[in-house]
């Protein structure tokens, strides 16, 4: 998947890139199982063609986009982002995609659109764990309008220069680098602009543990564990001290102003 390297501030970290084998075999994608090796084993059943993404809600021009058209909607860029999972591990992944803003501008949001909701595929025929009681399906995520329009929020089609492997959310996913990984919904089929804050899958499952914002924040612990440190997959040895987690996953300069004046302990 051809792309040019992005020039957006913060879009390319110089850190060591996680090995492809680790990034494509250690995944959370509960539709294919809750063990981190499950998605790589089970996701081959996912059919990524034909694929359409429906954009609807508070927009002037709602529409259904075939994946082929979506791929061509804007120039593909390479972005090298840190990825921090809420479970306390992290990776550095070179993604391929373009800002979600390009698609949202296209459908012309109405003045009262305040949030963007993402709904992902929930097909029990190809996704063996859809129907399990772990989460409510389809998997739902959401962003505030300014977050969705932020130049770092990436509508993502590939990684490591190739199209996304199924287990990483093929054929199209979202990547929001300053939030915990679960905010970056995979295998998206619907994008809906709303006035009300959308409920998200993890918020429905455990509201006291997973808030709407879920910004990476070393100062706000998960109720059951600390978020102050993380282990970089494939890099931090067994006996190495874990590395310190950065505010907004190191993207504070780019995104911090969106949360100015907000109590991030309350809006976790």
């Amino acid at each position: 998947l051809a792309a040019v390297r992005s020039t957006v501030p913060g879009a390319v970290t110089m850190e060591k890139i996680t090995e492809y084998k680790d990034a494509s075999s250690y995944n959370n994608f509960y539709e294919f199982g809750t063990d981190k090796s499950d998605p790589a084993q089970n996701a081959h059943t996912l059919k990524t063609r034909p694929w359409t993404v429906e954009v609807e809600g508070l927009v002037k021009k709602p529409g259904k986009y075939a994946i082929e058209d979506l791929l061509k909607l804007s120039a593909q860029e390479e972005r090298i982002y840190r990825l921090r999972c809420v479970e306390g591990w992290s990776m550095v992944v070179p993604w391929v995609g373009y800002p979600l803003a390009k698609l949202i501008e296209k459908v012309e949001p109405l003045g009262n659109a305040k949030y963007v909701e993402f709904l992902t595929l929930a097909d029990p025929k190809t996704m063996p764990f859809v129907g399990s009681r772990v989460l409510e399906w389809p998997y739902a995520e959401g962003l505030r309008m300014d977050e969705a329009m932020h130049p770092l929020t990436l509508l993502t089609f590939g990684m490591y220069g190739e199209v996304l492997p199924n287990q990483n959310g093929a054929p199209v996913r979202i990547v929001v680098p300053w939030k915990y990984g679960f905010k970056s919904a995979k295998s998206i089929v619907k994008i809906r602009l709303t006035e009300q804050m959308p409920r998200t899958a993890w918020n429905k499952a455990a509201a006291n543990e997973y808030g709407f914002y879920s910004n990476v924040n070393p100062n706000v612990d998960h109720p059951r564990w600390s978020q102050a440190t993380e282990r970089r997959i494939g890099e931090d040895g067994l006996f190495a001290k874990k590395r310190k987690t950065l505010m907004f996953n190191g993207y504070e300069a780019q995104v911090g102003q969106m949360y100015a004046g907000m109590d991030l302990k309350k809006n976790y």
């Binding site: 809750t34 981190k36 090796s37 009681r133 772990v134 059951r224 564990w225 600390s226 282990r231 001290k241």
Partner: protein, 215 residues
Amino acid sequence: MARALLHPAPKPLVFVLSLLPFAWLVYGAFADKLGANPAEYLSRATGDWTLRFLCLTLAVTPLRVMAKLPTLQRFRRMLGLFTYFYVFLHFLTWAWFDQGLDPGEMGKDIAKRPFILVGFLSFLLLTPLAATSFNRAVKAMGAKRWQALHRIVYAIPFTAILHFFWMRAGKNDFAEVAVYAAILAVLLGWRVREALRRRKGVGVAARAQATSRPS
């Protein structure tokens, strides 16, 4: 069968078999065969093996009685000590890889996470059992007191399953927990049944004695 078990070979064989999971983990750690997150793999594997050895240890007595193979008893201590071996490694993976052997951090983590607290408690409870497992300890304590102390082991299935249950609660994924819980329930249930039967037996004998007393 009974004779085969008395042979000197089975004991070293069980010993070597019990070390195989450990050998695999050491090899895997050095040969980079434990996946993307080796620390997590080691932590989970040592936890799994602790549970498995706990089941094996608690299975010795019911098997011995049901199969009428008293010689099986020879393996109980070794299996119990391997349970402790794996729970100690399990504790170490947490203390070292997760907490960097920092006592302050460990204390905070125990206070913060109930499943860590219960796991740590299980490890603590097993420690005196391992420490008094040798023959001289039995002699020094006296069989009665030694036995009373070692009844602690009956609390471990409860704390271990709670630890495992809470750990999996984040993903609402309880299939494996249920399997171990069922096995341990059978092993403890058998003991409860035996105890009830013995008490009833004693009761019947006492009544029989009372009625046969000459008036």
